[in-house]
Amino acid sequence: MTAMLLHTSGALVTLLIALIAGVAIGETHIDPTVVFQVLANKLWAAGYALDPIDEGIVWNYRLTRALVAAACGAGLATCGVILQSLLRNPLADPYLLGISAGASTGAVLVALLGLGAGAISMSVGAFAGAVVAFAVVVLLGRASGVPGATGQIILAGIAGSQLFNALTAFLITKSASSEQARGIMFWLLGNLSGVRWPSVWLAVPVALAGLAVCLWHRRALDAFTFGADSAASLGIAVRPVQLLLISCAALVTAVMVSIVGSIGFVGLVIPHAARLLLGTGHARLLPASALGGAVFLIAADVLSRTLIKGQVIPVGVVTALVGAPVFALILVGRRHAR
């Protein structure tokens, strides 16, 4: 019990440090004292007299950005864990089920064809597209699948992704100038620059809810690691639980994609890293992955804003650029430890 308490508090402190780093480091230099004064002003009404621009940057730009990065990182890593365990496929990631492809189609429909006549934003379009794509994939997987077989849904996901990617390409070729396409691609590649408080109120609860649902089913997930048959023999209602968890992953991913675009690598690699370090028990694996994803994405976002002065690198580039070598080190390190 004490060990668990120790781990939990350690995890929270790590997350807090990452958040503070995310708030303190940005495109421009703001003195750390000012940063803490802003936080004190906002959290405890400390009443320091500060430049409203500094205050706005720290509270409305940087803190929201760090919180959304944390929520997205946690959400995507959790989804990665679920899908890898349920589908028993190490290559499964949150975008496997056609979600990012569907999101781009939805966003493109809104941006290029003016679907919704300006009343709905690209984010809403992306979310709707993601859900539609996921529904198509699930229906296809059901229509073709033997109950409990996981290969079918992966193939359905690949087919769905290809279909929606082709639709996006078709729409862009048909109606977008290259400049337009650039604007959309910029958005789709993952971008944390536009997040404000409303995004926080959406992303954080969704990430926490997703994590809670998965933790509730941690024993089922443990069982699924050994295959659907073993899960069934342990008395788990295979299909309903499978559908619930996959839908949960899809919804969380769709929300994240609609807020920040599709940021790669986090959902694929963080779960593996956590598994290598902590083993496969989901009671530990899930919170550890969520924490790892959150800290990793905050760090990647800080790097994306500071690696080149005066320029922001797409965060997806940084996650892969920094994440891949780190993951390689973990892989090699584990081999030597054995």
């Binding site: 730009y61 290259s178 804003r305």
Partner: protein, 337 residues
């Protein structure tokens, strides 16, 4: 600080307008943006890709030679409205290659290299060469500019106003109407001098600005005018510093960086294009006044926001009009605040 610049401009212009006074001798061979173009006679049919070229031809009195236009950013200037109504608009954005050659043009005048150039989305210049269709690319977009780097190209050296006068002179030469080019260039030079004179007695030391074109989504990093491009030239001409330091033509820069730079005034673009919400200048204004950070910027607090047509921020005859608007607005500001 301004005077030497004005003198340099004036001499530069003087040279380029006197040089081409004689009537055109056909066949005319022109070096244009790394390609050699030959004209056996004055073209009878021209297609334009890019509004700058379209309006330049109208201004040269060559509207009757136009058989197709494309790539529009704003409505055509009112004085050319009637004439423009009779000319087919091949596309609002970039036209397809076949719709251009289908007009059997003898000249295709192109504003931007990403449309017709080494990686042109409409075609490469070689594709037109093969069909014996002459192309003319505005020097303003190829001179000292790498269009393969950055979203809208990257400037290797600052934009030169002479490149606009040069395209007017060369287009006139192709059509053998040099006198009109001299008149037009003289008018534009006078307009430029007028703008400079407007702010002559204004102390613009430490004055800075940001030019916001659009954003892919309202809250995210906006597309703003880069350090060596055309809007930057406009600001420099009036003695104002651009807060953006990137050499890309239209880089995206974070609001945090912009707010910290705290420019004296803002220029926002008005356009008819509606591909992003921020294309609407009213939405730009609304964002600036409601965002918790930008609403505290000096320019927004003191309402120093100038709305300019998108075409006035490009290498076009309308840039001069934009410069006058800018100078007048700047002159009216009480910068002691």
């Amino acid at each position: 600080m301004l005077l030497p610049r004005v003198v340099a401009l004036a001499t530069g212009l003087g040279l380029c307008s006197v040089a081409q006074a004689a009537p055109t001798q056909y066949p005319l061979t022109l070096q244009n943006c790394g390609s050699t173009q030959t004209f056996a006679h004055a073209p009878a049919r021209a297609v334009t890709i890019g509004q700058a070229g379209t309006e330049m031809l109208f201004a040269l009195g060559l509207g009757d030679k136009l058989v197709g236009t494309s790539l529009w950013f704003n409505d055509v200037l009112p004085q050319y409205q009637a004439q423009n109504a009779g000319i087919e608009r091949l596309a609002d954005n970039e036209p397809s290659f076949e719709s251009v050659i289908g007009k059997r043009p003898e000249l295709v005048a192109v504003e931007l290299e990403w449309v017709v150039g080494p990686q042109g989305v409409v075609a490469t210049r070689e594709q037109f060469d093969e069909l014996k269709i002459a192309t003319y690319l505005m020097p303003s977009d190829c001179e000292s500019k790498d269009n393969l780097v950055g979203a809208d190209g990257t400037r290797l050296a600052p934009f030169r106003i002479d490149s606009i006068y040069q395209s007017i002179t060369q287009l006139a030469q192709i059509f053998d109407v040099q006198e009109r080019a001299q008149q037009l260039n003289a008018q534009l030079q006078a307009s430029l001098a007028k703008s400079v004179a407007t702010v002559q007695n204004k102390d613009l030391k430490d004055t800075s600005a940001l030019v916001w074109f659009s954003s892919a989504s309202l809250d995210i990093d906006p597309y703003v005018a880069g350090h060596k491009g055309i809007p930057d030239f406009m600001l420099n001409t009036l003695g104002v510093r651009n807060v953006v330091e990137s050499d890309e033509e239209w880089p995206s820069v974070g609001w945090e960086t912009i707010a910290k730079a705290n420019p004296t005034f803002l220029v926002i673009a008005r356009m008819d294009r509606r591909r992003f919400p921020a294309d609407d200048y009213q939405k730009k204004l609304k964002f600036l006044r409601s965002d918790p950070v930008t609403r505290n910027m000096d320019a927004v607090k003191h309402n120093r926001i100038i709305v300019l047509d998108a075409m006035a921020l490009q290498a076009s005859v309308r840039m001069f009009e934009g410069l006058e608007t800018l100078a007048t607005a700047l002159n009216s500001y009480d910068l002691a605040q």
